[in-house]
């Protein structure tokens, strides 16, 4: 049964998930294109060596911030597009096969959660790996001299994965619930956007439920750092100080994990209840 539902979901929603992957990796694609096409964009990379590469490599950890802030909007829109269209009529074909409605919703959610989590993990891990690859291609950075720094950044990226996945899934399931409750395409899109903006505001604000300021503590306490970017004739990116080795990045707290798991659970039950009560009028 699961295999058939996964197949149906893949055939119905594959382009939506592909767009999620594309958007999540867009910063990297843009950087790669800029480096490939513009000499000035390449300048900082050309000067890098084993000591100064740490100035730029941890910037790739910014993918974790992107996925859990601005890209939550894309996650929400994919959720609306995945859940909204089938609920009018199409889902009754599945119900008529004797599939319990709750089981179908949870199978659908599980499938979507896997796609979202995979896209999140891939984007967050690919960013430092690809940036490091570009640095190695510059010639002055060597594997032997910078391997430990790369390993530290990758470990820091990996530590962000659980919470980034949970935050993305909260936005996804919450938006899916909004979509099936609201039912009108543009209203659902608007409401999901509002929900994600509010959710992001609360999650990134100071409150006892998320504690995100500690989680993404990128710069060592007491240090200041500035990053500037421009598209002139000089280097496109300037970092005023070297990042510390990100050993303390992504400090785990139980509060954000518990809060997101609770929200995902509640939203999932809400979705199941809507599917359970759905009528074919």
């Amino acid at each position: 049964m699961i295999r058939e539902i996964v197949w149906k979901e893949w055939r119905e929603n594959r382009w939506k998930y592909v767009s999620l992957w594309l958007v999540f990796n867009a910063p990297l694609l843009i950087l790669a294109l800029a480096l490939a096409l513009s000499h000035t964009a390449r300048l900082p990379f050309a000067d890098l060596d084993n000591h100064s590469m740490m100035k730029y490599l941890p910037l790739a950890l910014g993918e974790s911030f992107m996925v859990t802030s601005i890209f939550l909007l894309v996650t929400a829109l994919v959720a609306v597009a995945t859940f909204l269209p089938e609920l009018d009529y199409k889902v009754f074909f599945v119900f008529e096969q004797g599939v319990p409605r709750r089981r179908y919703v949870f199978a659908k959610l599980l499938n979507a959660a896997l796609h979202v989590a995979l896209a999140v993990c891939f984007a967050i891990l690919l960013a430092p790996a690809a940036v490091y690859g570009m640095m190695l291609m510059g010639g002055k950075v060597t594997l032997a001299g910078s391997g430990a720094a790369f390993s530290a950044v990758m470990t820091a990226a990996a530590r962000t994965l659980p919470l980034c996945c949970l935050l993305s899934l909260t936005a996804f399931v919450g938006s899916a619930l909004i979509a099936v409750l609201v039912r009108r395409w543009w209203v659902a899109m608007g409401c999901a956007t509002l929900f994600v903006l509010s959710f992001g505001y609360v999650a990134w604000g100071e409150n006892p439920f998320f504690k995100m300021d500690d989680f993404f503590e990128a710069v060592a306490p007491g240090k200041t750092m500035s990053v500037s970017a421009g598209f002139g004739s000089g280097p496109w990116l300037k970092v005023s100080d070297v990042f510390p080795m990100p050993t303390g990045f992504a400090l785990w707290h139980w509060q954000p994990i518990a809060t997101t798991v609770l929200l995902i659970g509640l939203f999932s039950l809400g979705l199941a209840a809507v599917y359970q009560r759905k009528e074919l009028k």
Binding site: E4, W7, K90, F92, F93, Q97, P100, L280
Partner: protein, 237 residues
């Protein structure tokens, strides 16, 4: 035990009583023709019985299971040909059948092959490109594929040309006669009901105006069509 037992079954949409206090029984092996003009409440009644709608009031039991206690497994014992189009439009006929096969343990592959070839279901055509006639044929193949005990047919011949209608009815009569299953056929065409049904229920305005064996419902000197028109006309007055 009757295949269907409905008591005061009612469904209200806003101020409209789409089905109003429907009370009737259907014995196993019966072919019940649900006859009524457009908007009489036939489709709503069928949707209530298959579980796609919840009743506002009243009770019903399908194959011994009360509506409020029914679960998804009842679908393995019933077949339903809906009037609305909701098969996934990106699937082709073969994919629809393969998808349904995965969920139904009593799937009869030999019967499906016979049905699809006899009905000339275009298996490689996407559902979105199927004509009304081909769409209904695919639905019938899906509804009969697991040899259900009870079949609901909601206006299966509406929108078909006379030749296709004739052919489809002949096939239905044959398939149903072979399995001796219970059938509820809704239609506004008296001819279809007369050809298939041994029992008839005349519906209008959400109410069942008459229900019983065809010969009993017909008045002595009238045809079923005249009787139907008389009931519907009397109500209109």
């Amino acid at each position: 035990m009757n295949a269907i037992e409905a008591h005061q079954l009612t469904r209200v949409f806003g101020s409209v009583r789409a089905v109003d206090s429907a009370t009737f029984d259907v014995a196993p092996g019966t072919v019940l023709g649900l006859l009524g003009p457009n908007g009489a409440g036939k489709s709503t009644l069928l949707k209530l019985l298959v579980g796609h709608l919840r009743p506002t009031s009243g009770t019903a039991a399908v194959l011994g299971r009360p509506l409020e206690k029914r679960d998804a497994s009842l679908w393995l014992r019933i077949g339903y040909v809906a009037q609305q189009r909701y098969l996934p439009d990106w699937m082709n006929g073969a994919e629809c059948l393969r998808f349904a096969h995965a969920f139904r343990p009593q799937w009869d592959e030999a019967r499906v092959s016979r049905l699809t070839s006899r009905l000339e279901v275009p298996l490689e055509t996407k559902v979105r490109n199927l004509s009304r006639g081909h769409y209904v044929r695919l639905q019938i193949a899906l509804a009969l594929a697991h040899s259900p005990e009870l079949i609901f047919l909601d206006e299966p011949t509406s929108g078909l040309d006379p030749a296709a209608r004739h052919e489809l009815l002949a096939l239905l009569v044959e398939e149903i006669g072979e399995r001796a299953c219970t059938v509820i056929l809704s239609s506004h065409l008296v001819e279809d009901v007369e050809r298939m049904a041994d029992t008839v229920a005349i519906m209008d305005g959400g109410r069942i105006l008459a229900c019983g064996p065809v010969d009993e419902v017909k008045t002595a000197s009238a045809t079923l069509e005249e009787t139907f028109l008389e009931y519907v006309g009397r109500r209109a007055q």
